[in-house]
């Protein structure tokens, strides 16, 4: 396979025009699936319950709930904070009644559920004129509004600390994950808020705000005329749209440095906070996957219950609902809630079946590999239906060179993972643990012959370093 794909191993090309960068990536793999969301709004009944799931916020240490069951809240009412970082408020995405505070083993906080009003009313958080706010006041305003958790710190991929000043802020303007939402469609009409969000972010860093857009298509309107940010162009297969990969090629993170990342959805929310004085978590969520009868966008709020979009919209009975995409997402139930950072759900067939001689017979299933009987490479543009079968059992690392060919960074994934397994802190640092989070090596987990839980391992390594 390598002979035909020499380019995959060549170094990424990058060139500078003015200050912005154009980066063409060769390594990676696009997982093409059936069930892309049509660019239209579906008219399903609106979600009635919404939930904040503390488990969505990686690095959240000691969550403290500020509301009780039965309380009424507005969108933007504080409902939780982390005792380890108490400036940051987690707020209700909608107005309504707190109906359940769900706890698990050892009273671990799992979900705070809110039954939404018919029309959502917002806390008045006060409009703000950016020019009159100093950095400190701006940070405090965002931190107390509920919008802040959108800002993620690298290294570690945790909710940013308002006390830090990042060396730069990075925004990926396109998502290359399987069936990912099209930001051009999902954020249309949000230009004003997006620009206001960028202006605010520019004030919070000593360095630059980098907006990285897809270099292979025309830039969507929402990003086209953005000022106050460096616009870099990235092209190539997934994970070209991963902000971690982009950081690696623009201004990599070294030990001791801090950068922030934020999704365009989060930028818009900052803009709305400043221009309208509200925590407005409304967004277009992409309903995707082969098992949905109607794959389209739905307008809802952060943390929506998926049942009204999914039940009655299924074309088969035995499915897995995933909050997010199939590479990095999380399995939820038919009554589950969309994760805080997700703007997509994917519904695929559940794969809990046996297959006679499944390892030997020719297969049309999607594979990055070309070993005996794996024929999907012959038809690279075909969209596949993929189920959740694990396709084999976990084994020791055997094959080499494959992780490298789906990781467009100067990082040696297998050595890094082995350092994590050995809990070798120096080695982890030297091999670049500060530059990655789970999603950056998600493709390794997908292509792995030995079926390692790569993303889980990455998080374990990050936590070892973070709490050492």
């Amino acid at each position: 396979m390598y002979l035909l794909d020499l380019g995959r191993f060549s170094k990424a090309h990058s060139s500078k025009t003015d200050m912005s960068k154009i980066v063409k990536l060769k390594k990676g793999f696009d997982i093409k699936l059936v069930g892309k969301a049509n660019q239209e709004l579906a008219d399903f009944a609106p979600a009635q319950t919404f939930a904040i799931k503390p488990t969505d916020f990686i690095g959240l240490q000691r969550p403290k709930v500020l509301v009780n069951e039965g309380d009424t809240v507005k969108a933007g009412t504080p409902i939780m904070f982390d005792k380890a970082m108490d400036q940051v408020i987690y707020a209700s995405p909608v107005s309504g009644e707190v109906v359940e505070i769900k706890r698990g083993e050892k009273r671990k906080l799992l979900e705070i559920k809110i039954l939404a009003d018919q029309t959502v009313s917002h806390e008045d958080l006060g409009k703000a004129d950016l020019a009159s706010l100093d950095r400190e006041a701006l940070v405090a305003k965002i931190a107390s509004s509920g919008v802040w958790p959108n800002i993620i710190q690298r290294p570690y991929g945790i909710v940013a600390n308002p006390a830090d000043t990042p060396k730069a802020i990075f925004i990926s303007g396109f998502d290359t994950h399987p069936l990912a939402p099209d930001y051009g469609f999902a954020l249309q009409g949000e230009e004003k808020y997006f620009q206001a969000g960028i202006d605010a972010l520019a004030k919070m860093t000593t360095g630059k705000v980098h907006l990285n857009v897809d270099g292979s298509t025309s830039t969507p309107a929402v990003f086209a005329n953005v000022k106050n940010a460096e616009i870099n162009k990235f092209s190539g297969p997934h994970p070209a749209g991963n902000v971690g990969v982009q950081i690696h090629h623009i201004d990599p993170i070294n030990k001791g440095e801090i950068a922030w990342t934020i999704s365009p959805y989060g930028v818009v929310q900052i803009g709305k906070l400043l221009l309208e004085g509200v925590y407005d978590s409304s967004k277009l969520v992409a309903l995707t996957g082969s098992e949905l009868t109607k794959a389209a966008y739905i307008k809802t709020y952060t943390g929506a219950c998926v049942s009204t979009f999914v039940k009655g919209n299924l074309n088969s009975g035995h499915v897995r609902v995933v909050s997010g995409n199939v590479l990095t997402g999380e399995k939820i139930s038919l009554d589950g809630f969309i994760g805080f950072y997700h703007s997509q759900i994917t519904v695929i067939p559940e794969g809990d079946y046996y297959e006679f001689l499944g390892w030997a017979l020719p297969s049309k299933r999607l594979s990055f590999h070309r070993a005996l009987g794996l024929l999907s490479f012959l038809n690279p543009n075909k969209e596949h239906v993929m189920d959740s079968n694990a396709r084999g059992e976990e084994r020791a690392f055997v094959q080499t060179g494959v992780f490298e060919s789906v990781t467009p960074m100067d990082i040696l994934p297998v050595y890094l993972l082995k350092a994590i397994m050995a809990e070798d802190f120096d080695e982890m640092e030297e091999l670049g643990i500060y530059e990655i989070v789970e999603e950056d090596l998600a493709l390794c987990e997908f292509v792995d012959v030995s079926k390692h839980p790569v993303q889980q391992m990455v998080r374990k390594g990050i936590e070892l370093i973070q709490y050492s």
Binding site: L327, G329, H369, R370, N389, V414, F446, V449
Partner: protein, 405 residues
């Protein structure tokens, strides 16, 4: 298949925790997963879908790539037998008889290797409580291909057991081993029972028949080495003159390339090794970098020898190294073993190149071992981590320099 599945489901509780045969769980599991890909699903968080590949499929690809060598080896075993006993000289005459003779000699070796190795795997799986390693699918086929057809079966069994235990299981199984398992088996035979795996008498099966007058069972490598020592004619002349009773062109370049020569079962045919290489490279299972650099290394060292030639062997045209002995087979199937080879992409170039270098150096300068590929691969297996160490270090240095700029 429903019937089989039902049978499996019915027996399964016996082997699970608390069942009567729970100690044998991994044996059951091996059989079950061989028949049916398991119904496991992906975890709650992370990749929800997985690539269609698994280790079994990858390993079986290697086995398939070896089949051309195996079939050719069987036929050639019969062919060499008839040549030596004066039965025939035409390549395709007595086709059935040759294939039959070869199969009768080769298949028992394959069966014994799989049985002995499989037994060791099973014992370790049960005692150490780990799944049976698919790596053995490949090892069990490789070992028969690198021994002469005349090897006693008990030696095959012993070598397989030794290699699987000492080269693999003591390190923790497939993926943890330092040395290539099949090469270790061959090295074991070489040092433990040299009489049955070296010299001129072991490469051609004679059976009860007497060899034709003037027959010598020498391999091309030993002819070349002898020519180098004697120095009365060039190696190419010596090869052409050798064993004329078996036909004038026994050791012609073409014949050696195709593989109609005496040698270990699967190693004689460079052509078939290249067919295997094509399969392995096209499927991406083996690294083309190791294969290309291995052949290149042998050629370069052969050329260097030419430049400083003090005897006829050193002056031999370097491309002869490609077709003599087991170089091609060793580079294609042994050097590319992903576990024991260098694991970094840059490291693979260096690793392959050095295997080529070493093979030729050992062949030409070492009086004790006419074949160099076995020791070259084992030697570089040991050095592969060192090569990788420096490649990884370069990666770390780049990261460190970036931070301080």
């Amino acid at each position: 298949m429903k019937f089989l599945r039902d049978l499996m489901d019915k027996q399964k509780p016996l082997f699970q925790k608390g069942g009567k045969l729970e100690n044998l769980y991994y044996l059951f599991e091996a059989g079950e997963t061989f028949l049916f890909s398991p119904n496991h699903t992906t975890g709650i968080k992370g990749a929800q879908v997985k690539d269609a590949i698994d280790l079994k499929r990858m390993m079986i690809t290697v086995v398939i790539a070896m089949i051309p060598c195996l079939l050719f080896g069987m036929y050639n075993t019969g062919h060499q037998h008839l040549l030596a006993t004066g039965g025939t000289t035409g390549l395709w005459e007595n086709f059935g008889e040759k294939l039959g003779t070869g199969a009768l000699l080769v298949l028992p070796i394959v069966l014994v290797a799989y049985a002995a190795g499989g037994l060791v795997e099973a014992i370790f799986a049960v005692v150490r409580k780990h799944p049976i390693n698919e790596g053995f699918l490949v090892t069990g086929m490789l070992i028969p291909l690198v021994v002469p057809a005349t090897t006693p079966l008990w030696q095959v069994a012993l070598a397989t057991v030794f290699a699987v235990v000492i080269a693999k299981e003591v390190f923790g199984g497939t993926g943890m081993n330092v040395l290539n398992v099949a090469m270790t088996a061959r090295a074991f035979l070489y040092f433990a029972y040299p009489a049955q795996i070296s010299g001129d008498q072991v490469w051609t099966y004679l059976g009860d028949a007497a060899a034709v007058d003037g027959f010598s069972g020498a391999t091309a490598l030993s002819v070349a080495y002898t020519a180098g020592v004697e120095g009365t004619q060039t190696v190419v002349q010596a090869l052409a003159a050798h064993n004329s009773v078996l036909g004038a062109d026994l050791f012609s370049f073409t014949n050696m390339f195709i593989g109609w020569i005496p040698g270990s079962i699967g190693e004689t045919s460079t052509l078939m090794a290249l067919v295997g290489a094509l399969i392995l490279v096209a499927t991406g299972v083996a690294s083309w970098k190791i294969i290309v650099s291995g052949f290149a290394g042998a050629y370069i060292m052969g050329t260097v020898m030419n430049l400083f030639a003090v005897n006829e062997y050193m002056a031999m045209p370097p491309q002869y190294h490609w077709v003599m002995g087991g170089l091609a087979f060793g580079i294609v199937f042994m050097a590319t073993d992903p576990v024991s080879a260098a694991q970094t992409e840059t490291g693979k170039w260096i690793y392959g190149l050095l295997i080529g270098f070493l093979t030729v150096i050992i062949r030409v300068t070492n009086p004790a071992y006419p074949e160099g590929i076995m020791l070259a691969v084992l030697f570089m297996n040991v050095f592969a981590p060192l090569i990788d160490y420096y490649v990884v270090k370069a990666n770390k240095t780049r990261r460190l320099q970036r931070a301080t700029v």
